[in-house]
């Protein structure tokens, strides 16, 4: 069944990407854990964690590509779904600290003791159970997206107006999560995590495990995204992107399609956030910052929107550049990022993957200089050829 789903959409680049992710999920932990530090192929733990973080960003970029690249919804608030997933994971990790916190309260996290709270707020119940926390990491962003999308798409808010309200959504959440009485740690957020599923969160093995989980989650996200975009539903999404009102006149309820892909995308972003938090060790309201969502848009644009593989490449490359810049030339990073966005918009509208595709096409044409057939015929030639065909009939 899954195979049938995928058969149409698994092109060369996507198969390579899936293979790479699965290989990385196995090889990187092995090279980190099994080889001694002196070995030339040893992967240091800080690099494992850094790459794991990039992969969660890549999953966020993939989720964004699903709505922006395939349905034309430019979300400037996708980091909100990412952060919500992160908070769900953070709440689980807080409950795992137990008596090891500064105040040693077996139930209440440190910040609640500090605020003189007497008991756990009801919305923290159940977060000591990992499966429940993971369910919420998917359900909370999914529900927010569903409610937001229900109103926005039904009222036919599109284009730049929709982008602006997604930005407002993430900004509103930023302000809300800053408040101490929200019960999510306010300004400081959630941190000082000790262990996850009983494993020490600082240990090499746990970090390698989290890396593998991120790589596999990204591979799984890619499979789902390929299945969605290769199905007839995917064709309807592209139809909505290119000619929304035409799609309506064909009898499709455009708002239902948008709501479907928007909610799926938000849940994917939530999963990315849940994997991100244990690797960076903190979640705070800063993750809701509008700039984060905009950065995610840049990753997608750089890699190539509407390609699925492109945003993964874009997220990893841009974040690699960011890590390098913020270490070597910290004051220039924002200029470099802005310049990159302008450059891609002007000269690489289809991103890195689009560039590679058109280069491959040109190469193929060079190799077979005269291919007779329809590809070489221009539309006007076709039109010119047609009246005679009709006369012959």
């Amino acid at each position: 069944m899954t195979f049938r789903f995928l058969s149409g959409g698994l092109t060369g680049g996507r198969i390579v990407m899936l293979a790479l992710l699965v290989a990385a999920a196995i090889l990187v932990p092995v090279l980190n854990l099994a080889l001694p530090e002196s070995h030339p192929l040893h992967v240091p733990t800080y690099a494992v964690t850094l790459m794991g973080k990039y992969l969660t960003y890549a999953l966020l970029a993939l989720a964004l590509d699903l709505v922006w690249g395939y349905c034309g919804i430019l979300s400037l608030g996708h980091a909100a779904f990412f952060a919500l997933g992160g908070y769900a994971m953070g709440m689980y990790l807080m409950r795992q600290i137990g008596t090891r916190g500064v105040y040693g309260d077996p139930v209440l996290p440190d910040f609640m003791v500090f605020l003189n709270w007497q008991e756990l707020p009801w919305y923290w119940y159940g977060f000591d159970v990992f499966p429940f926390a993971m369910l919420i990491a998917l359900a909370a962003p999914g529900l927010l997206a569903f409610v937001f999308g229900w109103f926005a798409f039904r009222s036919r808010v599109t284009g730049v107006y929709l982008s602006i309200i997604t930005q407002a959504m993430t900004y509103a959440l930023l302000l809300a999560f800053f408040r101490n009485d929200m019960g999510f740690g306010g300004n400081n957020g959630l941190t000082d995590f000790k262990d996850i599923l009983g494993f020490d969160i600082q240990s090499d093995a746990t970090r390698a495990g989290l890396f593998a989980a991120s790589a596999l989650a990204l591979a799984g996200g890619l499979v789902i995204a390929v299945a969605i975009t290769a199905s007839k539903l995917g064709k309807v999404l592209i139809a909505v992107r290119d000619a929304e009102s035409r799609t309506r006149f064909l009898g499709y309820r455009v708002e239902h399609y948008k709501l479907f892909v928007w909610t799926v995308s938000a849940m994917m972003a939530g999963l990315a956030g849940a994997l991100y938090v244990p690797q960076v060790g903190i979640i705070n309201p800063g993750e809701f910052a509008p700039a984060n969502s905009i950065e995610a848009v840049i990753w997608v644009a750089v890699g190539g929107r509407g390609t699925l593989v492109g945003p993964i490449i874009g997220a990893v490359l841009v974040n690699f550049a960011k890590s390098w810049f913020t270490a070597a030339l910290p004051e220039f990073w924002l200029f470099a990022l802005g310049g990159l966005f302008v450059f891609v918009t002007l000269f690489l509208p289809t991103g890195i993957v689009g560039l590679a595709k058109s280069a491959a096409q040109r190469l193929r044409r060079l190799r077979e200089p005269q291919t007779p057939g329809r590809e070489t015929k221009t539309p006007s030639e076709m039109a010119a050829a047609r009246p005679s065909e009709q006369a012959a009939e």
């Binding site: 539903l233 000619a243 009102s245 309506r248 006149f249 539309p379 076709m382």
Partner: protein, 248 residues
């Protein structure tokens, strides 16, 4: 269930935009399996009439009924398309980034919900139907090409093919011959006559040769209401019609 004799029934329909009356007390009937041509100068309300029928624009007043029982003013575009009203736009609007075949696949009559399309599977009957349509619109050899690469005339034909794929009872066709060569125009008229044997068709057109080739009853619109109705010869000898439209 007895079927209504008139498939489409418009009575006293008015629409105004910022005080400008685009439709003014328009009344208009289309019978079952009838083809009707609509002519009229620019701004006569031809496109607004199609917008009102297909649910894009709500009328300020008036009655719109489809098949005698459905009140079209109470439904939106997607529902109206589901009742069996298909529309071809003045400017050919196809899905440019998808193949000719996929354009027809999207239009093909089938469940329209997101879960139905997510789990959709092509079957033999649908493939055969698309092959037939490709033959009808003479785009068989271009089925894998992107719709955006077609010539203007071919896009018009693809859009007509998409209309047929929906299998509507009523087809609203806005300027099908625009931008076509004489041979293409003649072939389009043949195709529409063929379609009208089993469907009701409303054609808006400026090209008089084309309207003559259709050989059907003509309605002349002017300032949002019906100025004259009858055969092309009848309306073109009408002095009012000559004054506002043909004579200019």
């Amino acid at each position: 269930m007895a079927k209504a004799e008139n498939l489409l029934y418009l009575d006293g329909v008015s629409v105004s935009f910022d005080g400008f009356k685009a439709l003014n007390n328009l009344s208009f009937l289309v019978g079952r399996n009838e083809m009707r041509a609509i002519i009229g100068p620019n701004g006569a309300g031809k496109t607004t009439m199609m917008d009102v029928i297909t649910g894009k624009t709500r009328p300020d007043e008036g009655t719109l009924r489809f098949d005698g029982r459905i009140d079209l003013t109470a439904h939106d575009e997607a529902e109206i398309a589901g009742f069996g009203i298909g529309r071809k736009f003045q400017k050919p609007t196809v899905f440019e980034n998808q193949s000719v075949r996929d354009n027809l696949k999207l239009a093909l009559k089938a469940p329209r919900g997101p879960f139905a399309t997510l789990f959709h599977r092509d079957d033999e009957a649908q493939r055969t139907r698309i092959d037939e349509l490709l033959a009808t619109i003479r785009l068989r050899d271009r089925e894998t090409d992107l719709a955006g690469d077609l010539s203007h005339g071919q896009k018009q034909w693809l859009e007509i093919g998409m209309l047929l794929a929906q299998d509507p009872e009523l087809l609203l066709i806005d300027e099908p011959a625009a931008g076509m060569t004489d041979a293409e125009t003649a072939a389009t008229a043949d195709l529409l006559r063929e379609i009208a044997r089993t469907h009701s068709v409303v054609v808006v057109e400026h090209d008089m040769t084309f309207v003559r080739a259709l050989g059907v009853k003509v309605t002349v619109l002017h300032e949002g209401s019906v100025l004259a109705e009858g055969s092309l010869d009848h309306v073109s000898s009408d002095q009012k019609v000559i004054d506002v439209y043909l004579g200019r």
